[in-house]
Amino acid sequence: MLAIKLAYRNLVGAGLRTWLNVIVLAFVLFMIIWHYGILDGWNEQANRDMQAWEVGNGQYWQENYDPYDFFTLEDSHAEIPDVLQKATVEGIVTPILLTQASVYPDGRIQSMLLKGIKPDQKVIAIPSAELNIESEEIPAVIGKRMAKNCKLKVGDITTIRWRDINGTFDAAEVKIVNVFDCNVPSIDGGQMYIHINTLQKMMQAPNEATMFIIGEDYDMSEDISGWVYKEFDFLMTEMNEMMKMKKVGGSFMYFILMLLAMLAIFDTQVLSIFRRQKEIGTYIAMGMTRTQVVSLFTVEGAMHAILAVIFIGIVGTPLLIWLMSIGMTMPAGTDDMGIAIADTIYPVYGAGLIIGTSLLVFVITLIVSYLPARKISKMKPTDAIKGKIQ
């Protein structure tokens, strides 16, 4: 208690230098909390969007389906089993049929993934209803990335080519009936959605599907022969890994920032122990034990962190809340990273993040303060009193 009281007096007495250190530390703390808040916010948003647009609450894959190997697509569809047929009717799942195809916008050839989806499905957010439109051409829906790449817009007509189940090439005209805007690149770039029945006919694979997406509000995980259940967490692995990498990448910068802040504190400590020898000698002459003096200097150093946390609490909290409300506009181009990313990311500051970061900064400051303070116990009090430089 005494050490804290004295340390506080000393720090406040030391004035400007203390506040500079506190502000540097508070800045680092703030940046870390804000940055990880953004990453957490992003993670949450990406999870939400991916669940809504792509993965649902898990999926069933036809046993041969491998999303990383397009060449298996030919063999990775099968007749819809009764259980899944029933679940589809009940709106619990929705089937998707996949095949490889090419599109010829402006005479260029571009390969893509052609996806058959039910127009009346409510499981994922793809605006499939318009696939029901009566038209001479096949109604198709694409995402904004695909639209941009192929320079296609609503109302455009273009040719697609695909192979049927016998390997024979065939071609047809499609008409873009909707371009949707979504934050999940993995269901957008290089993909086109058409009515599943149309695709089944085109592939000569009646009543077949490649995968089923389970609705967000439903649970289904029973074994179905010929189909493999993929749980939500599995489907999110890649995304979570990527987020982890981002956090590690960010940590490096904060490690450097933190190092600078710690150097400032270390320097202050070394300097003050050097400069304040006379004071240290006086403390000892007045009957403080060496342990007490070492603790006093350690607490003094560590108190920078406490003051920084208080500073963040007073000045940073409104700022963090404000930043949370306006979010961070992501620069154009971040989209190409392949992670679901919204135009504006709203940071999320968890209690764990704030307490954990503060505690970490505190512990590191404590260590950095203790190391030089330890030197005090080696000082000769008679020399220290005179302020002799050793």
């Binding site: 009281k5 000892i284 009957g287 060496r290």
Partner: protein, 235 residues
């Protein structure tokens, strides 16, 4: 050894390593100091006055011999016990004031009481009393840098005496004081010496102090050359 001896110094030798050799700062000191003495160690610069005070205050160790202070042999005292002895019973006044620069006058004087865990109200009274003794009540909020040398010295004296220690070790306490202030402070110390039986040990070559001493121990080249009881001025 007498029952009521406060300090017994027995064949004390202090050598400092200097370069490859050694320098003998104290060379076989024998002294006894009784409770309530108002003693001065006098002698020219470099004669070993400060060194002797430091050993009595267990801030430094004897090379040979021993100084027994309040029954504790300083040669065998653990660092912790030495700190306790200083905290409870000793008050230091340094040649160089050694005030804590970031503390106010009040906080400086309060400091030894904080170490004794004294309650707030008691502290306040004791601090104001001590500041009264040295006549510096008008500058309680100032910091040492804003004070003159003499004012600093008075604060240092107040700090040494605020806890009413058994022994006050005063190294040149009047070095920066004018005659009037020196006399006031010495009179006040003498009063405390008589009222509280506080033992004062000065290290000085200042005649203003020497005049007040009841006993004068003369040191030369680390040896006691004279030890005399003196007639105190005004008595």
């Amino acid at each position: 050894m007498e029952q009521n001896t406060l300090i017994t110094i027995d064949n004390l030798v202090k050598r400092f390593p200097v370069g490859k050799g050694e320098f003998t700062a104290l060379n076989g000191i024998n002294l006894t100091i009784n409770p309530g003495e108002f003693t001065g160690i006098v002698g020219p610069s470099g004669s070993g006055k400060t060194t002797l005070l430091n050993i009595i205050g267990s801030l430094d160790n004897a090379t040979e011999g021993d100084a027994v202070v309040m029954g504790e042999s300083t040669s065998n005292l653990s660092l912790k016990s030495a700190a306790k002895l200083r905290r409870k019973h000793l008050g230091f006044i340094f040649q160089t004031y050694n005030l804590l620069p970031v503390y106010t006058v009040y906080e400086n004087v309060e400091f030894p009481l904080l170490l004794l865990n004294m309650s707030g109200a008691e502290r306040k009274k004791a601090v104001m009393d001590a500041l009264n003794w040295v006549g510096i009540t008008d500058k309680v909020k100032s910091r040492p840098a804003q004070l003159s040398g003499g004012e600093c010295q008075r604060v240092a004296i107040a700090r040494a005496m605020v806890k009413k220690p058994v022994i006050v070790l005063a190294d040149e306490p009047t070095a920066n004081l004018d005659a009037a202030n020196s006399h006031n402070i010495l009179k006040m110390m003498l009063k405390l010496n008589e009222e509280l039986k506080t033992t004062f040990i000065f290290a000085t070559h200042d005649d203003k102090v020497i005049k007040y001493l009841k006993r004068k121990i003369s040191l030369e080249d680390g040896k006691v050359v004279k030890d005399e009881l003196t007639k105190v001025k005004g008595e």
